[in-house]
Symmetry: D2
Subunit: 491 residues, 4 copies
Amino acid sequence: MALKTREEYIQSLRVQKKRIFLFGEQIKDPVDHPMIRPSLNAVAMTYELAQQPETFELMTVQSNLTGERVNRFTHLHQSTEDLVNKIKMQRLLGQCTACCFQRCVGLDSFNALDVVTSYIDQDQGSDYNRRFRRYLCHVQEEDLVVDGAMTDPKGDRALSPSQQSDPDLFLRVVNRTDSGILIRGAKVHQTGALNAHEILVMPTRALRREDKDYALACALKADAEGLLFVYGRQASDTRKLEGGVIDVGNQEFGGHEAMIIFNDVFVPWDKVFMCGEYQYAGELVELFAAHHRASYGGCKVGVGDVLIGATRALARMQGIENTSHVKDKLVEMIHLNETLFACGLATSAEGHASPSGTYMIDLLLANVTKLNVTRFPYEIARLAQDIAGGLLVTMPSEQDFNHPEVGPLLEKYLVGASDYPTEWRQRLLRLIENLTLGPGAVGYLVESMHGAGSPMAQRIMLARLADLDEKEKLAMKIAGILDDNGEAVRS
Amino acid sequence: MALKTREEYIQSLRVQKKRIFLFGEQIKDPVDHPMIRPSLNAVAMTYELAQQPETFELMTVQSNLTGERVNRFTHLHQSTEDLVNKIKMQRLLGQCTACCFQRCVGLDSFNALDVVTSYIDQDQGSDYNRRFRRYLCHVQEEDLVVDGAMTDPKGDRALSPSQQSDPDLFLRVVNRTDSGILIRGAKVHQTGALNAHEILVMPTRALRREDKDYALACALKADAEGLLFVYGRQASDTRKLEGGVIDVGNQEFGGHEAMIIFNDVFVPWDKVFMCGEYQYAGELVELFAAHHRASYGGCKVGVGDVLIGATRALARMQGIENTSHVKDKLVEMIHLNETLFACGLATSAEGHASPSGTYMIDLLLANVTKLNVTRFPYEIARLAQDIAGGLLVTMPSEQDFNHPEVGPLLEKYLVGASDYPTEWRQRLLRLIENLTLGPGAVGYLVESMHGAGSPMAQRIMLARLADLDEKEKLAMKIAGILDDNGEAVRS
Amino acid sequence: MALKTREEYIQSLRVQKKRIFLFGEQIKDPVDHPMIRPSLNAVAMTYELAQQPETFELMTVQSNLTGERVNRFTHLHQSTEDLVNKIKMQRLLGQCTACCFQRCVGLDSFNALDVVTSYIDQDQGSDYNRRFRRYLCHVQEEDLVVDGAMTDPKGDRALSPSQQSDPDLFLRVVNRTDSGILIRGAKVHQTGALNAHEILVMPTRALRREDKDYALACALKADAEGLLFVYGRQASDTRKLEGGVIDVGNQEFGGHEAMIIFNDVFVPWDKVFMCGEYQYAGELVELFAAHHRASYGGCKVGVGDVLIGATRALARMQGIENTSHVKDKLVEMIHLNETLFACGLATSAEGHASPSGTYMIDLLLANVTKLNVTRFPYEIARLAQDIAGGLLVTMPSEQDFNHPEVGPLLEKYLVGASDYPTEWRQRLLRLIENLTLGPGAVGYLVESMHGAGSPMAQRIMLARLADLDEKEKLAMKIAGILDDNGEAVRS
Amino acid sequence: MALKTREEYIQSLRVQKKRIFLFGEQIKDPVDHPMIRPSLNAVAMTYELAQQPETFELMTVQSNLTGERVNRFTHLHQSTEDLVNKIKMQRLLGQCTACCFQRCVGLDSFNALDVVTSYIDQDQGSDYNRRFRRYLCHVQEEDLVVDGAMTDPKGDRALSPSQQSDPDLFLRVVNRTDSGILIRGAKVHQTGALNAHEILVMPTRALRREDKDYALACALKADAEGLLFVYGRQASDTRKLEGGVIDVGNQEFGGHEAMIIFNDVFVPWDKVFMCGEYQYAGELVELFAAHHRASYGGCKVGVGDVLIGATRALARMQGIENTSHVKDKLVEMIHLNETLFACGLATSAEGHASPSGTYMIDLLLANVTKLNVTRFPYEIARLAQDIAGGLLVTMPSEQDFNHPEVGPLLEKYLVGASDYPTEWRQRLLRLIENLTLGPGAVGYLVESMHGAGSPMAQRIMLARLADLDEKEKLAMKIAGILDDNGEAVRS
């Protein structure tokens, strides 16, 4: 069976030998490191839900490659139903983890690479798609977590890769041999990289002939020789090290970001899916980005559900859940959240088959989805803070609640509406803090802003994809400037 | 063949004998009245496009009742594809008319009534659904325009129908005989009523036992004895009477609203589809409203396309289309417009079959769609006015442009970027004026606000349909308050 | 006494011989023309309130030039108190007319010209300021309405005045003689020009040496030979011609816009205040614009007061004034309206004396004020439409209400909450229609957008006036990059 | 001389014996505790700037009580100039600390108490105002930091103080003796309490006769017997304990919040300023709140300046400062920030003298100011994150930058535009993180939301203070319903 259990997944990571740096020290055992473990738990949920009967249908799907039931995170979408189910699966996981579960970048990379490699093969007579699909069969059979690695450091943004003073500021091929290639550079903002089995490298922008060496897509083991990971800090990250259970807000789950440095890493040819075909880099980026932009219409909606639920529960514990302004703000939060979901669903429902049979989403709507994601979670978070009240940022630490003298005083004075323990209020406040000012906000807000491209990237795509000339014609017909055939009316 | 031509439709209206009042006078020939004709032209477009090869597929569909190809505006949706196509058809018509084409209310009424009459029959053993479907077959075969009439005058809104000082403030049955019923009251805000063949009456709110006489759904000919129509004024309405071609902004198309007064009108039993079953009034209203709220995610998007196109074309004629702020504002307009479309599509794509086989849209998303429609067109219109410039509201009349002395001076001084006639600029400014300050704004803005229910109605539905308790549970699990089984964790 | 009565003002216009075109015909008697008269009434209110004891203090002020009590609309501000009182006077007039009262452009022109002419004189040894002040004494003594004429047609916006294919697209000097100059061109968007005694011409943009002939400021009688006015259309403008009293919305008051064409008009030297000094054109424009941008923080707030009041009154007559969402929306309208007022007040309170003694407002805050004015009235109007309900755009004409058969039926069915006549509801709906979709919206919305410069003009000024380098230094100190002396910290 | 130096201030705190709990432990030396010290540095800046020649005028003022030059934070405002200068002083301090400097609550309390005690004395013949002013002389002479303590824990918000199950949930008098009173309860959200010399207690809401014991205003030493402080956690608070200099974002300054518990604390009569006069509690709260709401139009604007500056500097270091969308976003940030300042200034400029001579601000505008503060900083922060880019939340720790192997790799790969050290970029990113997701965001965002009352509190005041009836009259006159005398027009 191609589906790993949660435990098998965790065990499979223990045997890896990644070089990981955190706070200036190399981490021996990332799986059990308290800073990293919550993010691993979030990924593990993608395995756990695939085993549970009530979520099995949504989380798994029959592979068009192997014929087996595989985790949907490793699947090439074969219908708009697949695309819609992807969004629903992402919302479910957001609801169950209240954070980024890190497996979407890989999924979106697979679906983009499959389409683009088939284009290359068709044009150039190459063999990339077969190679890629063979690799993907392996991923499906082993139920692997694959980190899609796209964003290069970029240096001076006004310059192309080959124009940079340091040629390594974009990941590149530094040597080609019969057996494979040697690559050097770095990838930043790598969500969940420490929990991955594999790294799947792709270019980060459109390229020109002189940037040939940067036109690179390939897969490598996450503990390959020469790879080095540096953990990215997050707000309130060290609360996970304090040993408490409340102040961390979301005790079990979290996300993480890492920077990956490639110090001349070897990749064998059978894991190379693009190498020099610079003409296709732009399309690959665009297609991946569109898939990933649509994904935010699922996952962030799930996190939004948790934030809305936390806010409503806290309002109840503070005795204000029936106040008209509180109800109205909750409705607004719901409205914004469901608007994001509607965008994600529509992007999927309007998908269509590519020549390889793999389904693509609607490109225009994918960008619309993401642009809304760069706005609405911020407003939802603001409204959550409005309802939560000032205690959100003035509440003493859980150690104070546990102190023999101070604890009972805090219990006495910080009681909310009767019937609810003060600790429940405390826990909900810390969860809302987590999601709006803490590590959860990194995922819910800033990642919503910049993940899969900053807002300006979506705006550029909208300008390109919306057919403004056609709209002008519609208007000029109505205005009596053009006739029904689109010819200028003679006056 | 069940499809009327545009000409047949117009002819079919000529033989009617509606009593219509406008500016204090009874109108003899509404079909050729310059105030009314543009709205009739907009309805006629629903016939015309059904005849054109390139839009035939979208505009027509095989009826599940008659097996014939019928106009989609008379169809009971039999799949999510049907629901999605409805939205796309509405966008198309908005693009071709830049106004309300008035036939959606009937369509949405059919689909709501079919579902609710089948519920009544199932519970009460009545025969409404068969009766209704027989009526609908007639509508399909004759390709009729049916005005769905819902909104009663309501009087004091704090009081139920039977509590009003005047019992007629909600439409009601005043007499029952063997052959039929006699009804009295009024319906306000009747979009396109003057262009309809039939009026399909429904209750406007949930009812209680004492409001039994108001639980009424039935159809009647639009020129039935005792009916009286009063035309509703719109901004700049009389420009249509001036005899010009430019200042009217949208010369060919427009919408209209009318008030219908029912002075003891007789309806035979075979056109009565609810009479006294007050328990179902609320559900009928809700289901109709949901269908109609979703519709706005199609039609207003089409009008938005025209407004965006007009703004871009005008920017070009004023030589500013490549200015970065103009491009950015156009992108924002597109983004907002497509967000509405995404909502409409998702509402349809997430539809599901009712027991009668007729498809229902997603209720929650339908309300999300409409709530966005009460906001985004206003911002799109504001941005259009921003780009259009002050001449939008200071330009002399077309008569001045035609004056022998003044005309050449206006031509000289109001020239824009070269290559474009001043008249084109003039026409586009008048179109944007029409859509943001004139009769087009009635449809694009105020109807977007209040049609199918004012924003508060959507908010109330969102509060009811979003499962806040479930969201609370998600949050309390993440916060460590509830365990995986939803039980409170013991501390 | 320097203060004209309302009647004297009206009489003074009757003796003028302006050439005015409207709907392709020359108007004989503009003072009594039903399209124009409401705008004249609005100007007349600036005279009327100056006579009433309770508003005398606010409306008039002791002139620094003549020592007499003069209308504040002719005054050079001598203190921040004067500047603050200007804003308050504007709000008062907006409240009393619900439209543009047209006298601010002149006032703002006086204050800008006084400062800039004194700069020119100081640099160039010219005599413009004394000339201008002598002219202004005349204006004060005769209590004249002066139309500040700034906006040229501009043609191709990418080209400077002298680069245009037609040199007349900016107003210019075509001949200089011993006695005066001859000018040719046009000014568009001339608010209230038909009600003015004088036209005060100024350049519309910064100029270069080659545009010398366009560097022109001068005054001329509004009925000078060679001047021609063309009336600008507004939404629903012809309702004023219908002879009714209700549908017009605001029966007594209104604004108007006109285009002025200068066909080689002669101006004697003593009314010329800039002629060729291109270096000062930019500063004059900027200073005028700043004064006028601040003005919107007064007048539009007054109109907003009327719109808020109309909405609240209508809500009361519809029985929903105590609904929580209605109350909340009214609060939002108040909040936005008062934010505009706060901006206007602050701009004035932070004013300072120029070298000539005339007070200037705070330039940065003036632009902040106006930029908010391009947004908030739109949202206030949207909220008004939300509360008003659909009848706003579906109500029959007043002729129908007066019809013997239809009228009583409308009375019966369109009754609101008891205690209020249906006519009151009708009148308030028409007023709100006027202000949000009719001629009032021209002033309240589109003029708020473009008057005194479109939003982009304010944004450019904000970018220039906000000292971003200084802000960078603040941040770099806090970040530990710079030390207290602003030097880079050595690491 | 009444002005303490920075060093004298710090020394004066060292001798205090406050009982402070943090992370479950009692703190021995708060002055040098790394968690607390940055907040003390921010307060110290109020002393330091009062000594510097260039800020002396703004920071100090001649006392109307002592005739001495005193720190403005201890002054009773004697003019609108004083009120305006307060706002400017607050902006300056926000610019110099990028955080809350904690001394405003005391200042705003003084000015509210002075007015209200004079009212009580006038009505009741009491002696509170003289007593209070004597106390304030002491504060001025010793240049003390006084924590204004208002917010009680409140328990069940639906119940009044005396109705609570635990009578201590609002601070109250538990005993009265000849020498003084004994008080019990708690105050939450006490900004900067650990850095204060004195606590000035006030009631938190309007009270009724049965709540007499809660009508309490008095001052006490911050280290009085029976007082206990518990430190409130903030996002990323423990970064201050890490020993680094960069990741903390704002190394020198910060804010803090504490909870104060009053375990039967004694207060002598000469420090009691209200005791039982429940009728005045509401007015005191309202007046204090208004002063404090206005304050946010100063301090948060200063913090906004730093955030804008940091964003612009970072954009420069990333080579995108001239991109049109970046410039446009910076303009938007400036616009929003200056709108807040305009509101603060207008609130002050429209102030007026109370009977005691102490100046009150404009109540309506104070609430308008604060309501904007609950919105705009959130949008400014969102825009800052937009421009900052994803590295804001993925950058490795400063320890990693210092690691011998990893550090150089980070230097290599995280370089921005040339000419700038990578460390500068790192520092600016951490500052923006601090202000939008870290401890700075507690002050800049959540405190902006809830400080001086949550948004709903401002909305309630706006509904009360805006004269809606008057606005209705304006509208009904324009609509022709009322005549000039406010009488209904007869039809």
